[in-house]
Amino acid sequence: MPYITGGVRPDWTAYLAAFADAGADLIEVGLPFSDPTVDGPTIQEASCAALARGATPASVLAELAATRAGVPLIASTYANIALRPGFAGDLRRAGVTGLIVPDLPLDELAGLSVPGIEVALLASPATPDDRLAEIGRRSQGFVYAVSVMGTTGERDQLAPSAAALAARVKLVTGLPVLLGFGISAPAQAAAAAAVADGVIVGAAIMRRILDGAGPAEAGAFVAALRAALDGPAVVR
C-alpha cells in the first residue's frame, strides 16, 4: 500500500492511477494536519507543503471524490481532523473505504464515529499481548503493524522488531497484517512480505515526490516494490 500526502502537489491525484497501474493493492491518502506528531521529517515536510498550497482535509477529499483510482483508498489523518463532525460523510463521498488515525488508540476509539468506513488499528512492538489481542479483534480491514519504535521515515533496513511483531499480530487476527514505518526499498519490502501480508511505504515515496518525481517516476518505484514482494500481497 503506497502512501501519498493529499494536496502535496497540484497534480497529486495523478499519482493514484500511477500507483494502481504499478500494482498497488490499496492506496493510503494522508489528509494534511498542522501538527503531525507521529511523522518524521519527510512526511512533515509534505504535510507542510500541502497546507502551504491551501489544501485542507476537505479539499483533498473533494479532489478524491472526483478521481478514479481503481483500487480501494484508505485515508489517514490525526484525531483532531477525524473527530470533527461531518468527517465520515466527507470520507464516504470521497469513496474512501478505510481510515487510519495514528494518534487515536484503542482506548479513545469510542469517540470516533465513521459508519461505513473500516477503521484499521495500529499495533506496536511495545504493545503487550492482551492489548494486541484486543487490537486484533477490533481492527477493521487490516492491522497496521508499526515495524519500529519511532516516527515515519526512511530507514536503512527492516527493523528487527518488525518480524517479531508481524508474527505476534498474525496470532491474534485473521485480518491481513501490513507492516509499515521505515520500509524504504524493494529488498526491505521483500523481507517484510516474508513475515506479513503486505507493506505500507510512505516516506520513501514522499521523499521522491518532494524531490520532484512525477507520477511515472514514483509509479516506477512502486512497481519495483511490487516486483520485490514475493508473490502478490493480497489484501482482500
Binding site: 494536519f33 498542522s34 501538527d35 506528531t37 507521529v38 518524521g40 512533515q44 507542510c48 497546507l51 485542507t56 482535509p57 476537505a58 490525526y78 484525531a79 483532531n80 481532523i81 473527530l83 470533527r84 463532525p85 461531518g86 495514528p102 494518534d103 487515536l104 488508540p105 484503542l106 482506548d107 479513545e108 469517540g111 488499528l121 495500529l122 499495533a123 506496536s124 512492538p125 511495545a126 504493545t127 503487550p128 492489548r131 487490537i135 508499526v146 519504535m149 519511532g150 516516527t151
Partner: protein, 394 residues
C-alpha cells in the same frame, strides 16, 4: 465545519476532566503512559516518596516560598494584592516543583534519561537542574525562536549538563518543541522518561503535574489564612500558558469561595478563544482555523506562546469555576516594570500577564475596589532582561 464534538459522557473515564483530557497518543506510547500512570499512583500513595519530595522541596528548592504583601501597588490600585513568590524558588520559577516530582518518579521507575520540551526555558532549566541533582542526563527540545529569545536559559541548561536541541519546524516555539519531544519519546520509550512541563499531554500528565504543583496553592491557602482577616482572598489570579502554575494555585482554593482567574497571553489564548480539539495527547481547547488546523500562537512571553491550554482548564472554564481572560504584550511589559518599581520585584514576563490583568481590572466589576487578590508570581524576570531592554521604554 465546527471543531470536534465534546462528548459529555466521557467523564467516567480515567484521566478525564469532563469530556476533556484522555490519552491521544500513538500506540507505541500507550504502554509508556500506563507505566507512568501506575508509577505515579504508587508513588503518590507512598509516604516514602512523598517524604523524599517534601525534603527536596524544602532543603533544595527553598519551599515554602513566601507570601508577600504588595503595599504600594495595593494602595495605587485600591485592592489588597498578595504575591505568591514562586520567583524565589530554586531555578527561578514554579517549574522546579513539578520537575523534582517527575525526576524522582523517573528514578523510581529506573529510567536512564529525561526528555523535556521548553518554551521560556524555565522548565528546561528546572529539568537540567533535577537531572544534575539526581544523575539523570537531560535532553531538552526548544523552538529555534525561543533559543534566540531565551539565550540566557539555553546557556544555563548547557552549563548544567543538559543537551538542548533546537526545533526548526512550524512556528519554532513551544508547540513544535512539544511535538518534537513526543516524537523523540517514541524512539526511547523504554529508557527515557518524558518530563512534561505543564498540565498538558496524555493522561496521567495533566493530573500528575497539577498534583506536583498543588504545593503552591496549599501553601498559599495556609499563608492567606494567617495573613487575611477573611482567611481566603476574594480573587486568585495566575498566568496560563499550558496552565501548571494556575492549576497548582487553583487546587489550593478549589474548595473555597475565592474566584479563580487565569490570565492568558492575548495571542495564545486557548481557554478564551480556543475550540475543542486534540493535540499533544489530550482533548482540550486549542486555537484552530475552520479546517481543524492548529494555529500558531504569538506572545512576547515564550512560556505563554502556546495555542492551547491544559484539559482541566477547559473543564474549569466550561463549569464556570474559573474565568479566563487575556493580557497583551505591551501591557505585560508595563506591568513588569511597574511591579519592579513599586515593590522591588521583577517578575517573569509570563507572570507579569497576571499582574497586568489585576492592574487593568482593579476598581472595575471584574475586581472591585477593596477586594483582596492573590497573584501567583510564577517566575522571576532575570531571563527576560534582554527582551525588557528592547521593549521597556524607560
Amino acid at each position: 465545519m465546527s471543531s470536534i464534538t465534546v462528548a459529555p459522557d466521557a467523564g467516567h473515564l480515567a484521566g478525564r476532566f469532563g469530556a476533556y483530557g484522555g490519552r491521544y497518543v500513538p500506540e507505541s506510547l500507550v504502554p509508556a503512559c500506563h507505566a507512568v500512570a501506575d508509577a505515579f499512583a504508587g508513588a503518590w500513595a507512598d509516604p516514602g516518596f512523598r517524604g523524599s519530595l517534601a525534603g527536596l522541596l524544602s532543603a533544595y528548592a527553598g519551599r515554602p516560598t513566601p507570601l508577600t504583601p504588595a503595599p504600594r501597588l495595593s494602595a495605587e490600585l485600591g485592592v489588597t494584592v498578595l504575591l505568591k513568590r514562586e520567583d524565589l524558588a530554586h531555578t527561578g520559577s514554579h517549574k522546579i516543583n513539578n520537575v523534582l516530582g517527575q525526576a524522582l518518579l523517573a528514578r523510581r521507575m529506573g529510567r536512564a534519561r529525561l526528555i523535556a520540551e521548553t518554551g521560556a526555558g524555565m522548565h528546561g532549566v528546572a529539568t537540567a537542574t533535577a537531572g544534575a541533582l539526581l544523575g539523570l542526563p537531560a535532553r531538552v527540545f526548544m523552538g529555534e525562536r525561543d533559543v534566540e529569545r531565551q539565550a540566557h536559559n539555553v546557556f544555563r541548561m548547557r552549563l548544567l549538563g543538559a543537551e538542548v536541541i533546537p526545533v526548526t519546524t512550524g512556528s519554532r516555539t513551544l508547540k513544535d518543541a512539544t511535538s518534537e519531544a513526543m516524537r523523540h519519546w517514541v524512539t526511547d520509550a523504554g529508557e527515557a522518561y518524558y518530563c512534561a512541563g505543564s498540565v498538558i499531554g496524555p493522561h496521567p500528565y495533566p493530573t500528575m503535574v497539577r498534583e506536583f504543583q498543588r504545593v503552591i496553592g496549599e501553601e498559599a491557602r495556609r499563608q492567606c489564612a494567617a495573613e487575611l482577616p477573611a482567611a481566603v482572598p476574594d480573587y486568585v489570579v495566575a498566568c496560563v500558558g499550558g496552565g501548571s502554575n494556575a492549576a497548582g494555585t487553583f487546587a489550593g482554593f478549589a474548595g473555597t469561595a475565592a474566584r479563580l482567574v487565569g490570565v492568558e497571553a492575548e495571542g495564545g489564548s486557548g481557554a478564551c478563544r480556543g475550540e475543542a480539539g486534540v493535540l499533544h495527547g489530550s482533548q482540550s481547547l486549542f486555537l484552530q482555523d475552520e479546517h481543524g488546523q492548529v494555529k500558531e500562537a504569538h506572545s512576547i512571553a515564550a512560556g505563554l506562546d502556546y495555542p492551547g491550554v491544559g484539559p482541566e482548564h477547559a473543564y474549569l472554564r466550561d463549569q464556570g469555576r474559573a474565568r479566563y481572560v487575556t493580557a497583551g504584550d505591551a501591557e505585560a511589559i508595563a506591568a513588569a516594570v511597574r511591579l519592579a518599581r513599586a515593590e522591588g520585584i521583577l517578575p517573569a514576563i509570563e507572570s507579569a500577564h497576571a499582574v497586568a490583568w489585576v492592574i487593568r481590572a482593579a476598581g472595575t466589576p471584574a475586581l472591585p475596589a477593596g477586594s483582596t487578590v492573590l497573584v501567583t508570581l510564577s517566575g522571576r524576570g532575570d531571563k527576560d532582561v534582554t527582551t525588557l531592554m528592547a521593549q521597556a521604554r524607560l
